[in-house]
Symmetry: C2
DNA sequence: CCGACCTATGTCAACGTTGACATCCGCTGT
DNA sequence: ACAGCGGATGTCAACGTTGACATAGGTCGG
């Protein structure tokens, strides 16, 4: 019951009466080994409960760890969870392990997570940047040839591959949908301005749609809320304006939930809504929620493919991949203005 | 642009004109170092872009990796994402890194993930078991003193710590709530029978509540659906029975969504519903969804604390921690039978 | 002015594994 | 009978780092 030392290859070898090298050969299917020896080795392995030490192996072989590090802002947000899932299945097919860490949307934590991944000699790095983080410190890694791919939001201060959603176009389409149904005062509820790439893009799409329809932009209709409750309160502020919006565009999944909750609380079912990013319950809402659906698993998969290409030696210049979005009309965007 | 070798401690040492050991001393704040030497070393470190090699360090020190491996069935499910988030923040406070992998609810993948974690010499293992997996193979690890904690579902064939929700009690309370509002035919939509611990417990709670109220159990009212769409179809089957239920209890978050979607599609708002596990949009549904809320972050945190205690040397026998659930009444459970 | 002592640094080996190369054996072909 | 070959195994060093111990100067008290 003591905290006994883990058995090593040498222990197994001693048990069988051979050298560590022979055990190594058996375990890696390397070089010739007598059938009987192989069997005895395997028996000893299970008997002693031997587990190969990947750290020692990687070090000797000089190879990088067969792991890929992924940094996401929050694990609890299903969007990032699904992205991670998409990455994982693509990466697993190649025998690579995915290591996920969460930065809590904090630049400092993101950096230290990246540092521990690098110290672990991961063979590639995938990052969903935290708001206001800077990636200049990764330049030397890029130079050294480490594959680095950014997801959902591009790198700051670093030319690197990235995979993003068609934020601006999708947003434009979503708002245009509201415009097409007669709305002229359309609120925007999203993240805090300036900080986040996705918020900037989606906001631009919102403005594009207004401009395209010749509608005036009213700063008073733009509100921020970084989580669901804050978004709900932002929505309440919009509704209590002297000249309130007849429709609201929500800039991300949490904002959508906040908007929907606020409208439900206020009993304002007649306000039209379009949300960016689909929600599993969108269909069950009253009215069912029209959304600009992203493809989070697709983003993850595309990023993973990019990484695999880089690992296979693709040295071409950094590329940006845009994953299309899709307007799913369910009703909430088709409500006419009063 | 060549794939040049990463600089090692020796490279830094050569650059400065000292030995690797001195560099090591600087980087670990070990032993005395002249102020000037320290500065020159640090300068060389940044100049060369040196990153310590954790694998080599861990090997030399013989310590286990400062990482904890967590296996979850699916990353995309917000329940597990939130659990992982709870684990992460608790574990990070101790300077440990969390490595998350997903088993896709498959026993085989779970085993191979665990194997790579063990090969990486993680200092502890946390597992949300896949359906129908068996953990006898971890016995030798437990003997060797590796902390292993199971979350949400207990281990199979292994005495080990585990942290679970109050499934049976919560479920009983949820169903009792429906009973209290006059329902006598209450459907159950959950995972496939037998396979999953949580499903068994929650189903028992359902039966407890029926028994407690002297209501008959009708096998026809029990349906299974492993994802949202399947749960929706299961609900449709219940509704089309000759003698349909007037209320439905959903056994997990996906089932809840499926039930709610199905009722919305069928326009059957009068059917009462209580779901196990809270949903972010529960409040925005019509009627707002009454749920038996779990505390996923709390489950993660409790499990992390358990692990930390074990790492601190607590050798007491395996313990089971139960995290309470809470009935949140919002309306859907209070609908009277027609 | 010498030994005790402290500071700053170096030397060496070891962690567990595997590549490069060596060795030993029995068998084949001539 | 002997060279030659291929199969089975061993030996050694090295990967990057650090613990244990050693060394080279300098300071200080008596």
């Amino acid at each position: 019951m003591g905290p006994m030392r883990r058995p090593t290859m040498t222990d197994v070898a001693r048990e069988v009466g051979v050298t560590a090298k022979t055990v190594s050969r058996v375990l890696n299917d390397d070089g010739p080994v007598a059938v009987e020896t192989r069997e005895r080795v395997l028996a000893a392995v299970t008997k002693l409960g031997y587990r190969p030490n990947l750290m020692a192996r990687n070090m000797r072989v000089g190879a990088r760890d067969a792991a890929i590090g992924l940094v996401v802002p929050e694990m609890g947000n299903p969007f990032f969870g699904t992205v991670a899932g998409g990455v994982e299945s693509a990466v697993r097919a190649r025998g690579l392990t995915l290591i996920v860490g969460s930065s809590s949307e904090t630049a400092g934590l993101e950096q230290s997570l990246i540092a521990t991944f690098l110290a672990r000699r991961v063979s590639a790095l995938m990052v969903v940047p935290a708001a206001s983080s800077d990636h200049r410190h990764l330049r030397s890694e890029r130079m050294a040839g480490l594959p680095i791919v950014f997801l959902d939001r591009p790198a700051v201060g670093l030319r690197a591959d990235c995979v993003v959603s068609a934020n601006r176009e999708g947003s434009r389409a979503g708002v245009a949908h509201l415009v097409a149904h007669g709305h002229r005062r359309i609120g925007f509820v999203g993240d805090a301005p300036a900080s986040l790439y996705t918020r900037r893009e989606r906001f631009q799409g919102y403005r594009d749609a207004l401009d395209g329809a010749g509608l005036p932009f009213d700063r008073a209709l733009v509100e921020a809320g970084h989580d669901m409750e804050a978004a709900a309160q932002a929505t309440m502020r919009l509704l209590s304006l002297a000249d309130p919006p007849t429709a609201v565009f929500a800039g991300n999944n949490l904002a959508s939930m906040g908007v929907v909750v606020a409208l439900a609380r206020a009993g304002r079912k007649e306000v039209a809504v379009v949300g960016f990013d689909d929600l599993p319950l969108a269909e069950a809402l009253d009215p069912p929620l029209t959304v600009v659906a992203q493809d989070p698993a697709g983003v993850g998969a595309a990023a993973a493919e990019m990484v695999l290409r880089r690992l296979d030696g693709d040295r071409s210049r950094a590329r940006r991949t845009t994953v299309p979005t899709r307007l799913i009309t369910r009703g909430s965007g088709e409500l006419p203005p009063p």
